[in-house]
């Protein structure tokens, strides 16, 4: 599985504006709606399931990364988007660090496999400190897209 299979080139933001958890999740969902990955009519429900998932325990996984994710019937396949916050957002991470890199994933109901594979893939990508720094410092969406393309190729060749 490649990252660009579930993150379309358009579903990327190099400069998230939100200042808090709910705000950033809303901004990321809007990104998914703008790229037609999710139907606008489902926005409220999708936000609800994502916030309910956060209430179970933060999806911040440390080192400035958060992976908000949930399942909803509005999507037939795994879809996602990627956003970077320059300032960082308090996402209740276990290590106390602000989150800068956000991968939001929405999966169909009754799908465990692809979801888990995507989480594994994202973790593999972001384990590399150099990749994290490059994403955080990316000046625009084009640069983020380039990083993802390069890393997708590198990870596939391992």
């Amino acid at each position: 599985m490649k990252i660009r299979e579930f993150i379309s080139a358009k579903a990327v933001s190099a400069d998230l504006k939100a200042k808090d958890k709910e705000g950033v999740i809303t901004e990321l969902v809007d990104l998914l709606i703008d790229t037609d990955a999710i139907d606008r009519k489902s926005k409220k429900k999708v936000l609800e399931v994502l916030m309910a998932r956060e209430a179970l325990g933060s999806t911040a996984i440390g080192q400035g990364i958060a992976i908000p994710h949930a399942k909803h019937k509005s999507t037939k396949q795994l879809v996602g988007c990627l956003g970077v916050s320059k300032e960082g957002i308090d996402f209740d991470s276990l290590d106390g660090e602000l989150a800068h890199i956000f991968f939001l994933l929405m999966a169909p109901i009754d799908s465990a496999g692809p979801h888990l594979k995507a989480l594994a893939k994202i973790s593999r990508l972001l384990k590399d400190k150099f990749v994290r720094e490059r994403l955080k410092g990316a000046k625009d969406e084009e640069e983020i897209k380039k990083i993802i393309d390069q890393e997708d190729d590198r990870l596939m060749s391992l």
Binding site: I61, A112, L116, S123
Partner: protein, 88 residues
Amino acid sequence: MPLIRREINVKNPQGLHARPAALFVQIVSKYDSVVTIQGNGEKVNGKSIMGILTLGAQKGADVVIEVDGEDAQIVADELEALLTDEEK
């Protein structure tokens, strides 16, 4: 110092996804023992959610935990209970 090595069959319905991974790290962080978890030919630090997620362990996968320290027994028991919890 006891070193406990245990092979565990993951029973979490959605595999070792983000929530059980976070709970795993929370357990490890409570104690002094050093923990690693292996699966799929890789060995990662038991205190790293990101590391654990890279294993991509699905339900039914076998993982191996190694717990090293004075409190290894209780840590291994708690981790095994988590990984075999069918409701997490």
